[in-house]
C-alpha cells in the first residue's frame, strides 16, 4: 500500500493511493477520492510522541564518494537532521542568494516501524515500516570541516523534500535492488541503484541500533549515488526510486 499525508479542505488527512487517486482514510470522509493536484502533499509520516530522529548518511555510494574525492568510509558516515527541514512532495525549496553550488541528493529513506535496539542485520528489515524517497539537498558553499557535513549545509528549512508515498515494507520485495534517478527540468542527471550502497539498509539498522534505540517513525536517509549537479531557482527537480514514486520539487529564490 502507498500511504500519503495531505492537507485538504482545511485539515490534515491520511490517505492511500487508489487507481491513480488519493483515497482519504479520515473516517468522516472515508471513500472520498481526490486528484493528486487537489491537495497539498505533506511528508508521508505520522506524528510521533517524541522528537523524530532523522539520521542521514554521507558517502554511502562508492561512486559518489569518488566524485567528492574521498575514499569510501570504513564505517557509516552518519549525521543527524532536525524534523523542521522536512517538506512534502511538490513543495518549494529555497536556494539562498549568492550561493554557487546547491545540489539535490536522491536517497532511499527508511521509516522505522517498531522499537529497534541492538537489532541484528538478519532481522533488521523486520523493523522497517516502509520506504519513501528523500531529496537531501546540500548547499556546498556552507561546508566547513567541523562536524562535517555541518548543519548549515544539511539542516536548512525547506531543504529536505520527502515523499510522495510511504510504501509499506511488505510491498518492496528487495530494498537493495531499486533504481534511483533524478531529473532536472526533464533531463536525467543522476542514475544509480540501491545495490551500490556501501552500507546497506540492514547494516545501517544494525549499526545505529547498536548504540541508539530507534522508535517507530524515525528515519534513515541512506545516501546518494554519483551525479549531483547545481540547481537554480525555477528548476524542477524530480527524484524517483523504482516502485516508490517520483518526488517533485521546485527551487525558488528567497
Amino acid at each position: 500500500m502507498k500511504r500519503a499525508r495531505i492537507a485538504w479542505a482545511g485539515a490534515v488527512h491520511d490517505a492511500i493511493e487508489h487507481e491513480g487517486q488519493l483515497q482519504l482514510l479520515t473516517p468522516a470522509l472515508s471513500g472520498q477520492r481526490l486528484g493528486f493536484d487537489e491537495v497539498v502533499w505533506l511528508p508521508p509520516l505520522l506524528p510521533v510522541p517524541r522528537p523524530r530522529t532523522v539520521l542521514a548518511l554521507g558517502l554511502n555510494y562508492a561512486d559518489h564518494a569518488r566524485e567528492l574525492a574521498f575514499k569510501a568510509p570504513a564505517e557509516p558516515l552518519a549525521f543527524v537532521k532536525g524534523e523542521a527541514s522536512l517538506i512534502g512532495h511538490r513543495a518549494f525549496t529555497v536556494r539562498p542568494a549568492g550561493v554557487k553550488f546547491m545540489h539535490y541528493e536522491c536517497e532511499l529513506a527508511v521509516v522505522i516501524g517498531r522499537t529497534a535496539k541492538r537489532v541484528k542485520k538478519a532481522d533488521a528489515l523486520d523493523f522497517v515500516a516502509g520506504y519513501t524517497v528523500a531529496n537531501d539537498y546540500a548547499i556546498r558553499d556552507y561546508l566547513e570541516n567541523w562536524y562535517r557535513p555541518n548543519l548549515k549545509v544539511k539542516n536548512r528549512d525547506t531543504c529536505t523534500p520527502i515523499g510522495p508515498w510511504l510504501v509499506d515494507a511488505a510491498d518492496v520485495a528487495d530494498p537493495m535492488q531499486l533504481a534511483l534517478q533524478t531529473s532536472v527540468n526533464g533531463t536525467v542527471t543522476q542514475q544509480g541503484s540501491t545495490a551500490d550502497m556501501i552500507f546497506d539498509v540492514p547494516t545501517l539498522i544494525e549499526y545505529f541500533s547498536s548504540f541508539m534505540t530507534l522508535q517507530p517513525g524515525d528515519l534513515i536517509l541512506t545516501g546518494t549515488p554519483d551525479g549531483v549537479v547545481d540547481c537554480q531557482p525555477g528548476d524542477v527537480v524530480v527524484t524517483s526510486i523504482e516502485g516508490l514514486g517520483e518526488l517533485s520539487n521546485t527551487i525558488t529564490s528567497p
Binding site: A78, V80, A84, K117, E144, N145, Y147, N155, F211
Partner: protein
C-alpha cells in the same frame, strides 16, 4: 498559563541542538590547531550537533555507560527552550520561553571533523533538568551571563562553568543559528559545554552520581550505571 516547558518532569518536545566550541577556554585551546588539516580554518558558523530523543534521561534517572565504555564526559550546560510564537516575533529572533539545566554526556573524541553521532547520541546521554525556569525569572537573555553552573561528582565539586565566558552569548547564538534554520516551538538550543584547563572534561564512571546546580534551578541529579554486555 500551563505550558509544557514548565511541566514537571520536563522532557523536550522538539529537537535538541548542542553547540560545539562555544566557550572561550576551549576555543582558545583549539585555535592553534584550527588551521591544520582536516579543519583548514576556524569555524565560521556555529558548530551544532543534535541530541536525539533516545538520549533524553529525566532528572533523577540513571544513565548507562555502554558495555566496554569505562568512562564518559559529563558537562553542565543550559538549554534555551524555544517557546511559541517564535517565528512570529517581530525581531526575527526566536523567543526563549524557559531555560533548563542539561547534563550533556558524550564519549570523548579527539577529532571534531566528522559528526559525533556515535559519541553523543547514545541512549540516555542527555540528563534533562526536571523543570524549566521561565526566562523572565533569570533576567532575560542578558541575565544568563551572570549564571554559574556547578558540576559535582559524588558530592565533590569538579567544575564551575561561567556563562559570561561564551564565544557567542545566548542572544548572538540564537541569532546566528536562526540565520540558517528555524528553531521551532519546543526545540532546545544548548549554549555549549566548557572544558577543564587542560582541555579535557569531567568524567563519570559507573556508580557515580553527578549533580548540576545553578542558582534558581532545582539540581539536576543523574546516576551512572554500566550497561550489561
Amino acid at each position: 498559563m500551563n505550558r509544557p516547558e514548565l511541566a514537571v518532569p520536563y522532557l523536550p518536545r522538539g529537537t535538541v541542538y548542542g553547540t560545539l566550541l562555544n566557550f572561550q577556554r576551549e576555543h582558545a585551546l583549539w585555535a592553534p590547531r584550527m588551521v591544520d588539516a582536516p579543519y583548514l580554518g576556524a569555524p565560521q558558523a556555529p558548530v551544532l550537533y543534535i541530541k536525539t530523543a533516545n538520549t533524553f534521561t529525566p532528572a533523577g534517572g540513571a544513565i548507562a555507560l555502554p558495555a566496554g565504555v569505562q568512562q564518559v564526559d559529563v558537562s553542565a550546560t543550559l538549554g534555551l527552550v524555544i517557546g511559541w510564537p517564535a517565528q512570529a516575533a517581530s525581531s526575527g529572533a526566536p523567543e526563549v520561553l524557559a531555560c533548563v539545566l542539561m547534563n550533556d554526556v558524550s564519549i570523548a573524541h579527539e577529532s571534531y571533523y566528522r559528526p559525533p553521532v556515535k559519541y553523543r547520541c547514545v541512549d540516555g546521554f542527555l540528563g534533562v533538568g526536571a523543570a524549566g525556569v521561565p526566562l523572565a525569572a533569570l533576567g532575560g537573555l542578558p541575565g544568563l551571563s551572570t549564571l554559574a553552573l556547578e558540576l559535582w561528582v559524588n558530592g565533590v565539586q569538579q567544575q564551575t562553568v561561567f556563562l559570561n565566558e561564551l564565544v557567542r552569548d545566548a542572544a548572538t547564538l540564537l541569532s546566528d543559528v536562526s540565520g540558517f534554520m528555524t528553531l521551532q516551538d519546543g526545540d532546545v538550543l544548548m549554549l555549549g559545554t566548557d572544558c577543564l584547563p587542560d582541555g579535557s572534561r569531567v568524567c563519570a564512571r559507573a556508580g557515580d552520581t553527578v549533580d548540576i546546580r545553578a542558582p534558581g534551578f532545582a539540581a539536576l541529579v543523574n546516576t551512572f550505571t554500566q550497561e550489561a554486555a
